[in-house]
Every structure is written in structure tokens, then in C-alpha cells.
Symmetry: C2
Subunit: 354 residues, 2 copies
């Protein structure tokens, strides 16, 4: 079965060997205060920075899930959080910040439109943090890197936080355009769930609360990382697998181009076959998760027939649950996986007409 679910999704096939190496090398039996672990974490951070082209003065940190990154970012900053979103995950993040007693300003916009930056009005006298969702997995839109850069230019004094969950390591991110990027590893990293990656600007580190109240206060996590330590026993296996997977990845610019071309080809084929993409404007369409409209009767049929052909299509999400499906276009998927998918879609539509 090839999983095109947008996370947890297909795992990099090499992970099977890497797991054996983890056991054989006994690296995962070493204490997290040991030189063996410290050296491994150091190499992992280095290769993540190298392959994803992360600026040298940015910091890479780990947590256990993207959801935990909501908690970490919320408790580590006092500010008005300006959430700009067009879908379920962006909205959930805003609600999360509200729940833990933060001041939150909501700017929601249509998934079919660009962010109207000129309409964003905030009280510049207060400290604002802008929160964006790079790829909104629920409705398969992206925020274009130029848009993030424009927000940066318009509000130069504000920090920008970006949920990069279905983007990091699949999209060539312009890191300098924001201060806090986070993602879980079960999306574009092609790994088992249970780890998240945070990429932090020097300004973020400077402006975070200087408090260690929580084990996952950013200040604690950062200060520990300077000594190659963690605030608790981390998911050592996943840090090891991350290192191995990234060592085997081409540079992000190549990965990005490859996924973009493959995504575009898929969309063209879908349209040619009579499907309608969920997102009409290709400038707003995520490269890594693609939504496809589908009427409810056909939806049940296509998902069932796909399973028979060894293909797991992702369910639609929220309002699109019963009238769309989603296709993950992640680095762990091979071009053969996509040929197999397109062949299936063709035969499905052919059967449909006959």
C-alpha cells in the first residue's frame, strides 16, 4: 500500500535499514548525556542545516510534536499573537493561543485568495507576533514565500512564526523571512511520528522569555542545546533516523523543484481526466499536498478502488471531508508511486465512463 495520506504518510524506505543500524550500533541504548548521543545530535543538526540551507546563525531545536510547538511558542513569548489563517490548522493554532490566555487577533481569509496584507491593521504600539501557516494541510493551500517576505517588510519590528508542518524539507524555505519555523517529521521528512523540528532566528532567541518554568520553555531547550543537551530524554531513535534520512537527501533546492514539477504534472493530469483541484489558483496551491474535489458517491468508490490497487488516498478535512480527497506529494514518495497513482486515476475515470 502506498500511502498518499498527508501525514503520517509514506515513510522513507531507507528507514527500515536505518532502524537496524540504530539497533546494531546500539546508539539508542546510550544515555542522552553521553558523548555518543551528543555527537550524534550535533551531526543531525549540522546535516539538517546543510541540506535545508538554514542560515548559520539560525538554531535548530527538537520537540516531540508540532502541537507541542504551539505550547512552546505560546508560553515562551508575551505578545499579541496576530493569526492570519484560511483553514482548520491555522485556526486551531489561534484558538490554542487564546486558550492559554494570550491576546489573539484573528485575520481569516479565503482559501481561494491571497492574504490581503494591506487590510492587516494592528496596534503598532504593542508587541505583535504574526502567525502564519506555510502549507495549510486541511485545504491544501500555501502561503507564497514572497507573501511572508512582504509581511516581514511591512512589520519589521514584529516576530513572525510559521507552522511549516507540511512544508519543511519539501519546500525551499526563505528562512530569513521569519523567526520561528516548526514542523513534525511525519510529513516531508518521511519519518515515523514523535519528533518535531524548530528553526529559530537569532532575534527569536534574543526576545524569548528568559524563564525555565516548563521543561519545554524555549529558553530551557535552547540553553540545553548549547551544551548539546536536552531538557529530558528525547526521542533518540527519531533524531538518529532524521540524521540518516537527511544525509541521503539532495539539497532542498533540488527537492523543491522536483516536488513542484511532480505536483504540477499531477494537477495537469487530474484536470485532463476531468477532476477539479480544490484550489483553483495555482499560485495558492501547495506543492506538497494537493486537494481534489469529488462528489460524495464517487469519493467512496475512488477510495475503495484505490485501496484495491494498493493506493491510500488522504481523506478530505473539515468542510471538505465528504467532497474531496487529498494527495501528499512528499520527498519519500517515488516517481514510480506517482506513475502508479496516475495510471490508477486514468483507469478509474475510464471505468467511470464505460
Amino acid at each position: 500500500m502506498i500511502s498518499f495520506y498527508p501525514g503520517p504518510s509514506k515513510i522513507e524506505p531507507l528507514v527500515k535499514d536505518f532502524m537496524q543500524d540504530a539497533m546494531d550500533s546500539q546508539l539508542i541504548e546510550y544515555n542522552h548525556r553521553s558523548p555518543q548521543f551528543m555527537e550524534m545530535m550535533k551531526s543531525c543538526v549540522e546535516v539538517v542545516k546543510e541540506k535545508l540551507n538554514i542560515p548559520k546563525n539560525y538554531t535548530v531545536l527538537f520537540a516531540s510534536s508540532a502541537t507541542e510547538c504551539w505550547e512552546i511558542s505560546s508560553q515562551s513569548f508575551d505578545a499579541n499573537f496576530v493569526h492570519i489563517y484560511n483553514g482548520a490548522f491555522g485556526k486551531k493554532w489561534a484558538s490554542y493561543n487564546e486558550q492559554i490566555n494570550k491576546t489573539v487577533t484573528h485575520f481569516s481569509y479565503s482559501p481561494q485568495k491571497r492574504i490581503g496584507i494591506s487590510k492587516i491593521k494592528v496596534n503598532k504600539a504593542q508587541k505583535n507576533i504574526f502567525c502564519l501557516t506555510n502549507c495549510e494541510t486541511s485545504n491544501t493551500t500555501k502561503v507564497h514565500s514572497k507573501t511572508i517576505q512582504k509581511i516581514r517588510s511591512r512589520f519589521p519590528k514584529s516576530l513572525i512564526f510559521v507552522d511549516a508542518t507540511s512544508a519543511m524539507s519539501g519546500v525551499n524555505i526563505n528562512w530569513l523571512s521569519a523567526d520561528f519555523w516548526y514542523a513534525s517529521v511525519q510529513k516531508c521528512f518521511g519519518l515515523p511520528a514523535g519528533l518535531s523540528v524548530m528553526v529559530c532566528s537569532p532575534r527569536l532567541i534574543k526576545e524569548m522569555k528568559q524563564e525555565d518554568y516548563h521543561y519545554n520553555s524555549l529558553h530551557s531547550i535552547y540553553n540545553n542545546s548549547l551544551k548539546l543537551q536536552t531538557t529530558h530524554t528525547p526521542n533518540i531513535l527519531n533524531i538518529y533516523l532524521l540524521k540518516r534520512v537527511m544525509e541521503n537527501r539532495p539539497p532542498i533546492s533540488k527537492v523543491h523543484d522536483h516536488l513542484r514539477k511532480r505536483g504540477n504534472r499531477l494537477i495537469k493530469e487530474l484536470i485532463r481526466l476531468g477532476f477539479t483541484p480544490l484550489i483553483g489558483n495555482s499560485q495558492l496551491q501547495s506543492n506538497t499536498v494537493i486537494g481534489v474535489k469529488c462528489d460524495p458517491d464517487e469519493l467512496k468508490q475512488i477510495k475503495e478502488e484505490a485501496v484495491e490497487k494498493g493506493i491510500l488516498l488522504g481523506n478530505g478535512y473539515g468542510p471538505w471531508k465528504h467532497n474531496s480527497f487529498r494527495i501528499a506529494n512528499f520527498p519519500a514518495h517515488s516517481d514510480d508511486d506517482f506513475e502508479h497513482l496516475i495510471t490508477f486515476l486514468k483507469s478509474f475515470k475510464k471505468g467511470d465512463k464505460s
Copy 2:
């Protein structure tokens, strides 16, 4: 190399095969909202309860580390936390609770003595929660199950929380004597780090705060678990490995007896060879982690020679860092591992004298 480090420690050798099964079955590629994951988590909880003899009306929940369990338990209850400890981890837990603005009462006692229960005075008009460390990994003492029961009897209206980190699945716990037991899986469960297990009494569930502010509020975790759901994408691989490891384990009463006998034999051999256990009173000595006094010069030598023989001894901790070593006696260790260790200790002492 056989790791006798008290966690991360030796991993159950079968885990290597189970990891391959996880990849081959593709279970870890399924979404955590899928029936496949839900069914697997259900079986995992069932087998944990069965093998550890956990009462049917107790609830098993997951988090990502024992440290996270400090956060979870602290934020989910309003009370005066009465911390009774004799070592570094018990004290750290108390400090953690203090940091996040809880009222904390400290009762510290000597590692060489029993808890003086009659000396524990609390304001019974306020809500008190007693916090104990079942096995204090830092100094290798245990709190006897009868002691926990006595505290229960003396303060029947109070909840009791127990850090069971180096005990759960190695010690036959009397679950009814406390309300919240937690442990990470890299100790007695013999698994890679990145998951923790919480065992909750019905009264705990009744008395927890009915709030969902944090993704790891106990109320959220519990309510999600009723629907076989999680508050975020969890460490699916580790939940799967936990299920497989527990399916292969004998009942806890057998495991407990086996470790107790093996620990006692080791201590006898150590004494016979001229070593001195860190804890003089065998009633206070943990069965799962054993500390051994050692003068600083000999310590360096024994650790180095052990490594040459493929044995990793655990470092001492805190005040005992430079004058002791620790030996984990976990279920993942085989009797052959212990024969190998004892043979080494004998040859070391022989070489010492010659």
C-alpha cells in the same frame, strides 16, 4: 556492548524484529485517526494492563517522557504538593512543581532510612497530593510498597502520585495504593526513549481539573483516549513496540521475582568480592537499579576495563558521581548478561589483588 546504564539502557533484542514488522506492516504510515491506529492503541493498552496486573477501572495513557508527566500532573491539579524524597529525581520533581507556582511542602529523608511517616505533618484542611519516587534512580533506593500503602491509610483523602520510572514493568506494583503512576519506556520496558506511560485511578480522573487549556492537560488526554484518540500525532512506532514487547513478557509477578532474585544474587557476589553496596539496608535497596561504592581511582579503572569486556556500567549520580557506579537490573537484560558481568567483576577483583 551490554549496557547496564539505568536508562536509556539495554533495549529488548526482539525490538529489532518488531521494528521491521512495523515497517513491513506499514502500521506506522497510517494516520493516528485511522481505525488501524485506534485498534493498535487499544490492544497496546489491553496488554499493558493484563501483563502489569493493572486494575480494570484504572486508565492507561501515554505521553512523550516522564518529564512531561511532571508538567501534566502539575498543571492538571490544584493542591498543596507534598513531596517526600531522598534523592535528586524526587527533589527535581518537587522543584518543578514549585517553579510552575504550586504550593509545595518538602519532606526529605536519608537514603539509608525508611520514610518516617509519623513525622509527616500536613494541614489536613487543605487539599494535599503526596508525591513519591518508587525507585530513586539517582541513589538506587526504593520505597517499599507497604510504605506507600501506609501513607495511603494515614491520608485517605489525599491523592498519591508516584514516579515509577525505574520500577514500572520491573516491579509488581500495588496499583490501588496510589492514584497516578508514571514511567518512561527506556527503563524497565526495554524500549527506545520517546514515550511514557501513565496509570490513573478512577479518583484521579474524577478529581483532575476539567480544563483543556493545554494539549497535554490530563483532561484532554483522558477524553481523547475514551475515543481511542490522542491530542496530537503520538509516537506511533513506540506504542506499537510497547504492545509487541508486552505481548512477549511474562506476567509482572514472575518478572518481579526474577529481577529480585537476580538483584539479590548480584549484591551477594558484590559483597563477597569486597564491594560495598551504596545502600546498606536491603529493605531499602531497589531491585532494578543497584549502586556500588567505589573509590575514585578504582572507579575509572573498573569502567574502562568493563568497556574492554563489552560492559557499560552506569555512572554514579550527583554526590555519588565520583565514588560509585550503578547497575541496571531490567527485564531486557538476560541472565547471561549478568553472568558475564559477575565474571568480569571477579576477574577485575582478582587482577586488583595480584
